[in-house]
Subunit: 255 residues, 2 copies
DNA sequence: AAGTGGTCTAGACCACTTT
DNA sequence: AAGTGGTCTAGACCACTTC
């Protein structure tokens, strides 16, 4: 029999009954993504080999390969030649700077020191609820913190997280935890950020911001409003950061 | 004969004599890139089909395919099923907004109106020369312009371009030209921007900027310093933009 | 030596566009 | 009907890691 004639799409309709053509490798990709989301393999863990997955899904290795290629391009998994494919994790140096875009004008980038100002549970304001795709009044965790580089306070950040997903999150756990916050979210709360959108503006420091960042009132600051998403494009974090750009800048690549 | 045994890399050294392994498809990719750079196929034009290229380079279609896949991922070419592969061009709606990151807070994005303030040829200041990888004192074209959305001046931009590459560039040609500036550079000067890096800061409007953008002095503005590159990672543009972010924001995707 | 991801090939067929 | 890019397969071999 000809190989391609065993393609379940040969009848012109996808296996879901939809009339439009859906490549096999994308269906496989969706299945693997579901397993990732369900936690069948945890962040940092080794996934089954391409050969195993091909057998499991009854497709050729090349088809599994193409599915994993896309997952790797989206930073959901990491391939390592000779070792295998691993579930991506925020507990890696390389992942840290993908979401920390503020770099020093001179010198090598390093991790900021964190000072937690406030953690509380509140009802979501309308604007927050809208961006997090919640109902107004739903519980959210509110976090306020300041990050410093070389002792100089540089980032004033406020976060809003769906209360449902972050039940045991307290100031203590946030302070205790060493490493990036997304690592904490991933390990302790099973919520993995995979992409985000940011809207950036220039604003003047109000009195509170000026005090936290030790600048004078009215100093121009970068204001970055971030909405982060986990699997299935579900919004799971709203973050508003005020960046002092006296000795740092927001680095971006256009391509 | 076994197919793979005809791989010229089988001896463990690349055809360039380097000791490290270099996949065939990357060599093909480099050859195609050279043809793009040399202008063998112009922006917007149809390229040879995968079958033709495979014959030309004496490799399988799959190998050419993988090379073109990467070129498409880097936005150097555009694939269109049933039609062929085309050289990417800035004369397309889709390309415009890849380098125009400032979007309106509300409503649909549209193209700005341009007002050219100044065009002159000068000797490159040290800082400009450094970023453009020129010698200090080399000739550069300096451009200053204001861009408006709905009649409201929003972007004050200064540009520095290597004089060598932009010999006939005058204010007249800049004003006459309809469409995005990168389109002009591509068609009239044979220089195609393919990627850029930006450093973004918040600054206060100085007196000149305040006047051009019709805001009060000291108003916080986004300052975006862009270095653009053409084939071979050669820097070909320095651009410093001041953005009024009262009704617009810089939109970015993190992934 | 065995297992993994990575490369390359050859061939078939599908989806889409144009003739 | 013919040509293009897109998908899928099967098989071989390479580079790298581990045992």
């Amino acid at each position: 029999m000809n190989p391609a004639s065993s393609n379940p799409n040969s009848d012109g309709t996808g296996s879901n009954g939809s009339p439009s053509f859906r490549p096999l490798y994308q269906q496989i990709k969706a299945l693997i993504t579901q397993s990732l989301q369900a936690g069948e393999w945890k962040p940092g863990e080794l996934m089954p080999s391409e050969v195993e997955l091909a057998a499991r899904f009854k497709v050729s290795q090349g088809t599994v390969r193409k599915a994993i290629d896309e997952l790797a391009a989206e930073n959901l998994v990491v391939r390592r030649q000779g070792k295998g494919t691993f579930v991506a994790t925020h507990h890696e140096e390389r992942a840290h700077f993908r979401f920390l875009k503020l770099l020093p004008d001179e010198g090598v980038p390093h991790h900021p020191d964190n000072r937690v100002i406030e953690v509380k549970r509140i009802r979501a304001p309308a604007e927050v609820a809208r961006l997090l795709e919640l109902k107004a009044g739903d519980a959210v965790v509110y976090i306020k913190r300041v990050q410093s580089f070389d002792g100089a306070p540089t980032i004033l950040e406020e976060l809003w997280l769906p209360g449902q997903l972050f039940k045991g999150l307290t100031a203590e756990r946030l302070v205790e935890y060493k490493g990036p916050m997304y690592g904490l979210f991933e390990s302790e709360f099973g919520t993995r950020m995979i992409r985000a959108t940011e809207k950036i503006r220039a604003v003047g420091a109000d009195r509170a911001a000026a005090e936290y960042l030790q600048v004078s009132e009215g100093t121009p600051l970068l204001c970055a409003e971030r909405v982060s998403f986990t699997y299935g494009d579900k919004a799971v974090e709203l973050r508003r950061g005020l960046y002092s750009t006296a000795k740092h800048h927001y680095q971006n690549e256009l391509s």
